[in-house]
């Protein structure tokens, strides 16, 4: 009932989530479909996939969801991280007065670390430290083992298939 008396625009909590390595955009769409109040910023190293991410996003944005235009992000490129931060600050300036250092409440990356060169993982951690707001979280999802066992069958498959990516060179 309180929303009848409070100005919604002033009290709307803005949640910013940065996804590093959005791929085709399927995951971003799935996450946003369950969390329409969250603003997602998708990014991808392969610029050829940015239109796909945007196409998935437009489906939901037409219904009031908040997926920002995808950005190219080579995790080793400082200029890209700066652009990601500026994009987030544009959002937070409209609805939050949090500290100026970082603005994202969450940085997530899924199935990236185990198929990319180590420097990429290092760069993601370093970049997340610059764009996260105080108290924010970095989530690294991958086929990790817990007590020596994969927790899902799909993670076991991903781990096995990753051996075929060993010839990939990050340029």
């Amino acid at each position: 009932m309180l929303h009848c008396f409070l100005p919604l625009d002033d009290f709307q909590i803005l949640w910013l989530v940065l996804e590093v390595g959005s791929g085709s955009g399927q995951h971003t769409q799935h996450f946003s479909s369950h969390y329409p109040n969250v603003v997602f910023q998708p990014t991808e190293y392969d610029v050829g996939l940015l239109p796909s991410i945007e196409a998935y996003s437009q489906d939901l944005n037409q219904h009031g969801h908040h997926i920002k235009r995808p950005l190219e992000l080579d995790a080793t490129n400082a200029a890209h991280w700066k652009a990601v931060l500026e994009s987030g600050l544009e959002e937070s300036a409209a609805g939050s007065t949090d500290g100026a250092a970082g603005c994202y409440d969450l940085v997530m990356t899924t199935n990236v670390f185990h198929i990319s060169p180590w420097v990429v993982g290092e760069s993601i951690v370093r970049g997340a430290g610059k764009v996260l707001s105080p108290g924010g979280h970095l989530i690294i999802y991958g086929p990790f083992k817990k007590n020596g066992q994969f927790n899902t069958e799909s993670n076991r498959e991903v781990s096995l298939s990753s051996f075929s990516f060993s010839s990939y060179s990050y340029s």
């Binding site: 009290f11 085709s24 989530i139 999802y141 298939s161």
Partner: protein, 95 residues
Amino acid sequence: MISTPESASSQTTEPSHQGINFQQNMSEYIQVDRKVFFAAADRNKGVILDQMKPYLDQSRLGNYFFFPYCYPVHFSFPGICFIVSYLWMIFKYFG
């Protein structure tokens, strides 16, 4: 060399061969218009979201007043949720 990031406007979807191999198994990849569909990504999206929920649900706590139907704990502990969310909002804006 420092390059400026590209945006997605008016581009067509052209995932590189290298990128496809990098992302998923190519045999499980299809494209319809601009959308690329990776079967493996579709299979594990639910599992990944389950792992993200403890963090993403924090966004709903902040919107408790406006989206109470989104927060299932409300039905078990409505009083606690009300107080916690109210304090959280105060901290978020005035803390």
